[in-house]
Amino acid sequence: MILIVDYGAGNLRSVVRGLEAVDGEPLLSSDPGKFAEADGVVFPGQGSFETAMEKLRELNLEEPLKEHLSSGRPFLGICLGLQLLFDSSEEAPNAEGVGAFAGPNRKFQPGKKIPHLGWNSVEWRQNSPFFEDIPSGSYFYFVHSYYPVPQNADLIAGVTDYEEEFCSAIASDNQAAVQFHPEKSQKAGLQLLSNFVKICKENR
């Protein structure tokens, strides 16, 4: 079973559908107890940094999420689910993120369309099992105005150019988080989800 952490942030049905399409067994739940049973965890998210953190704490999901991250068990963060893993965000200067990784989230420089919305390419900076059979430079669907700046540059697994280069994926062994929406990124996205399902099965 793959747990999709449900804390009321965005269209989670499409993540469920995406995982089902690649033979995963997703379970949408906000029960903190489900982390222990899961072969892997998907941490999705859309919307506001601050509201998401409030919801996460209200539902007592922050601690099990942190524990899961430090256990090294399979994990995939999506969109806001990437940003929340860091310390802070320019979106809400007083809000504290999960802080599993050191670094802030920054807003795109003005002078271009914000949000960064649509298909953009991702250059892999790591050989990760998450990216197997997906050529570097493949296009994925993005919708966001902020992006993380990891203090530890070794975490950076993918970068994207939107008139400035930003970190669009981080990865370490069986854990990764991406700024784009694999569930909306057609073949390349489904391949990434399929790779994640495989990682989950291998680590059962």
Partner: protein
């Protein structure tokens, strides 16, 4: 680099594609799900359904269409038509739509844009603007916002309205030129450019596409971020691949499928 998007748009009435689609090898050219799947295979960057069903008791049909599409098509799906309140938006989002397009209801009740933004986030909220020029000279403003499928004048200036809905939390603007729609003479470039320059959110150009060159013009001279396309795809004149190729050959960034 961020790719310019090509978005096929299907008019749906009572769960069926209006006038059908002229694909030779499709099982049911009137089924929006089948057609959306085909466009997905062709490399469409998104798909938009516009529900033009007149009677509200047939709206449930659209929920089913959206749900069946989302089960099989893994690109962003926008649904518009007949969305009047937050609960309508929620129903479509739960069925599997990624974005909701509102038009008349937003003009009648601009608070709906704020509410949609608060409940679902701006990434879900597309405001459609139907605009018509007031000038005698072709391609000049001012442009007025029309509602009810372009039938009802509102007295609202299109550029001011675009700025207002951006402030209220809209994530994108779907801009249709009532002067150009159906002409196949090309998109309204001055209008598209004026709106695109007035806001920082993405603008989808709509109305008037008759050739691939028209798409190119909208995405370059018109400064649009995406082009909505109907008849030139539906009637088999061109495929989405051909559109992408045409643009790529002219150095417009498009998705490498």
């Amino acid at each position: 680099m961020l790719a310019k998007r090509i978005i096929p748009c299907l008019d749906v009435d009572g769960g069926r594609v209006v006038k059908g689609v002229n694909f030779v090898d499709i099982r049911d050219a009137g089924d929006p799900v089948e057609v959306a799947k085909r466009y997905d295979e062709q490399g469409a960057d998104e798909v938009t359904f516009l529900d033009i069903t007149a009677s509200s008791d047939q709206r449930e049909t659209m929920v089913d269409v959206v749900s069946r599409t989302a089960d099989q098509v893994f690109i962003p799906l926008t649904v518009g038509g007949g969305i009047r309140k937050v609960s309508d938006m929620q129903r479509m989002l739960e069925a599997g739509a990624d974005k909701i397009s509102i038009n008349t209801a937003a003009v009648q009740n601009p608070e709906l844009v704020d509410e949609g933004f608060r409940f679902f986030g701006s990434q879900c909220i597309v405001v459609a603007i139907d605009a018509r020029s007031h000038s005698q000279t072709k391609g000049e403003g001012p442009w007025e916002v029309f509602t009810h499928g372009g039938r009802t004048p509102t007295g609202i200036d299109a550029i001011e309205w675009a700025r207002e809905i951006e402030q209220r939390g809209a994530g994108e603007i779907l801009l249709t030129s009532m002067d150009c729609d159906g002409t196949k003479d090309g998109y309204d470039l001055p209008l598209t450019r004026a709106i695109s320059e007035a806001v920082s959110i993405p603008v989808i150009a709509s109305g008037g596409a008759g050739t691939l060159h028209h798409l190119y013009e909208a995405l370059t001279e018109g400064k649009a971020d995406a082009a909505l396309v109907a008849s030139i795809f539906h009637f088999g004149q061109h495929t989405v691949q051909e559109a992408h190729q045409y643009l790529q050959d002219r150095n417009v960034p498009v998705r490498d499928v």
